[in-house]
């Protein structure tokens, strides 16, 4: 563990004066809040009833207009079911509203983002009174055998989970990094769920997805002279897909192999990461995406590694972005030390002015 970071965080955490509280106060405090709100309860239940009726009507119709979705986002709890926490992602996601009920449990998908390379879903699980939750997510969509237009959804990685947002509703989101060979403009996901928490049942959801809107807003660029060389390695950016939400950067690294001995740097997923940032040091992320070449390939007296990463698309006034390799350094016990950045290999990628909308 690095002492510098620990010291900084300890110092940072020490700046607040934590209120002295006891467990009884916390418990009673919640009790008091409940009592105080008792008079509002009837009104609230009428409100919830009305909202519920509205949701049922919407779900039954199978459609939510963009205007309605925006209105729904402003309603507490209901709003969470209709919004991603990333505003741009949310803007380009489509309202779905498909649901299935079995064993008194309703599973629904309210929103989907699909750009051909990535898929994000928001789902909700409404459980009956007396439902016993598991400590894990109530449904695990990352291991569910999902189909896209009848074919198994092919992906590199997936992650997600859910948590309780009201007395009987769990809200979750899931992300899939799709394999690049499975790029469809439109399709229907079929999601068969056989277990919620510890309860077995059958919930099958059909979710239409389309990347047409995102595709139209995506610009493909082949930057010239976006390359740098340092210590025997050359990093070249060949192509970028600047989408409204994410930018995908395709690069190649080449390393001269010494006549004797091992190469100085380990190219490949185990040896390197990348970070992307703007000239004003705004971090944009930098994660591997799609099918990846795990190790560098030997070509003559060189190692060649083709790699694709994604980052957040910066705002329109940003004229360039910088991609920088980071060496992975593993220490013992799985604790990594400070990973050095190869700043000398940073490549500046100009962003096309045509995208500025001027």
């Amino acid at each position: 563990m690095s002492d510098v970071f620990r010291e900084a965080l300890m110092e940072d955490a020490a700046r607040i004066d934590v209120s002295q509280m006891t467990w009884q106060q916390v418990k009673q405090g919640r009790g008091r809040i409940r009592k105080k709100n008792d008079w509002r309860r009837r009104l609230f239940f009428y409100g919830v009833g009305a909202a519920g009726f509205l949701i049922i009507a919407i779900v039954a119709s199978g459609f939510v207009s963009p205007v309605m979705a925006k209105a729904l986002q402003k309603i507490p709890i209901v709003g969470e079911l209709y919004a991603f926490d990333h505003p741009k992602l949310d803007q380009y996601a489509s309202e779905v509203n498909t649901s299935a009920t079995d064993q008194g449990i309703t599973v629904s998908v309210s929103k989907a983002y699909y750009d051909g390379r990535q898929l994000y879903l928001i789902y909700a699980v409404e459980v009956p009174e007396g439902y016993k939750p598991t400590n894990l997510p109530q449904i695990n969509l990352t291991t569910t055998k999902i189909q896209l237009d009848g074919e198994p959804l092919s992906f590199q990685s997936a992650e997600g989970g859910d948590s309780l947002i009201s007395t009987n509703i769990y809200r979750g989101d899931v992300y899939w990094d799709l394999s690049s060979e499975q790029i469809l403009r439109n399709g229907t996901l079929t999601i068969p769920i056989h277990q919620v928490g510890t309860i077995k049942g059958n919930w099958t959801l059909s979710v239409p997805v389309s990347n047409e809107k995102i595709d139209k807003a995506t610009h493909y660029e082949f930057p010239q002279d976006a390359s740098s060389t340092y210590d025997g390695i050359t990093l070249t950016v060949n192509k970028i897909n600047k989408g409204p939400v994410h930018t995908v950067i395709s690069m190649q690294l080449r390393q001269q192999l010494p006549a004797n001995g091992k190469p100085k740097y380990e190219l490949g997923l185990k040896g390197m990461n990348f970070v992307v940032y703007t000239p004003s040091n705004q971090a944009l992320g930098g994660e591997y995406i799609g099918n990846q070449q795990y190790y560098a390939e030997k070509v003559g007296n060189e190692e060649v590694w083709d790699v694709t990463i994604k980052c957040e698309t910066p705002s329109e006034n940003v004229k360039s972005i910088i991609v920088e390799p980071v060496l992975r350094q593993e220490a013992e016990d799985g604790v990594s030390g400070n990973c050095p950045h190869l700043t000398q290999l940073a490549v500046i990628i100009p962003l096309d002015d045509e995208n500025d909308g001027d």
Binding site: E80, D85, G285
Partner: protein
């Protein structure tokens, strides 16, 4: 947070007094952990209270006493990140100055640097760096507590370290300008 196993065992057996002791021993650390992620004291205390209430409701589900630490921080971190999700559509809380800054703190350039650096991190990156460097989890434990894959945790941790180092270095080299 150093909680004797005996207390945790009694908590699992739903002993009220044990839960009070657990609360007393871990309240301060829980609030500070939330504050490091959320940067807002009222929210941090509210999230810590919610986490303790959730823990209280589900305490009988904890089977392995040794898993308590990870379980507790998983609830805490998820509750904090839920809070972020809820407030994101209302206001960017990071743009608000700390309400309890006193003059000493305002004069402390180093503390302001750290604050600035933390604000440049995403909530996920803060969570990663707090779990590993403040709580003292290994990367595998931190990934489990946050509910992420190890690679995701490493990536976020590395980003956080990079930003923290960069901001602090920048401040030391060039001085810091604050409005």
């Amino acid at each position: 947070m150093d909680i004797p196993e005996e207390i945790i065992e009694r908590v699992c057996h739903q002993e009220e007094q044990a839960y009070e002791e657990l609360f007393r021993l871990s309240w301060d650390q829980a609030v500070r952990t939330c504050w490091l992620i959320l940067r807002h004291q009222h929210d941090a205390e509210e999230v810590a209270q919610d986490a303790f209430l959730k823990l209280y409701v589900h305490r009988q589900h904890l089977q392995n006493v040794r898993a308590f630490h990870g379980w507790f921080y998983r609830i805490l971190v998820n509750t904090a990140l839920d809070k972020v999700r809820k407030r994101k559509f209302v206001i960017n809380i990071d743009e608000i100055s700390l309400s309890n800054q006193n003059n000493d703190i305002l004069q402390s350039e180093r503390r302001m640097l750290i604050d600035e650096a933390m604000k440049r991190l995403s909530y996920s990156e803060r969570t990663a760096v707090v779990l590993v460097h403040f709580i003292g989890f290994t990367e595998a434990e931190a990934a489990k507590a946050a509910g992420w894959k190890l690679g995701k945790l490493k990536y976020r941790l590395n980003r956080a370290r990079h930003v923290l180092t960069q901001v602090i270095d920048e401040g030391i080299k060039g001085g810091v300008q604050y409005v």
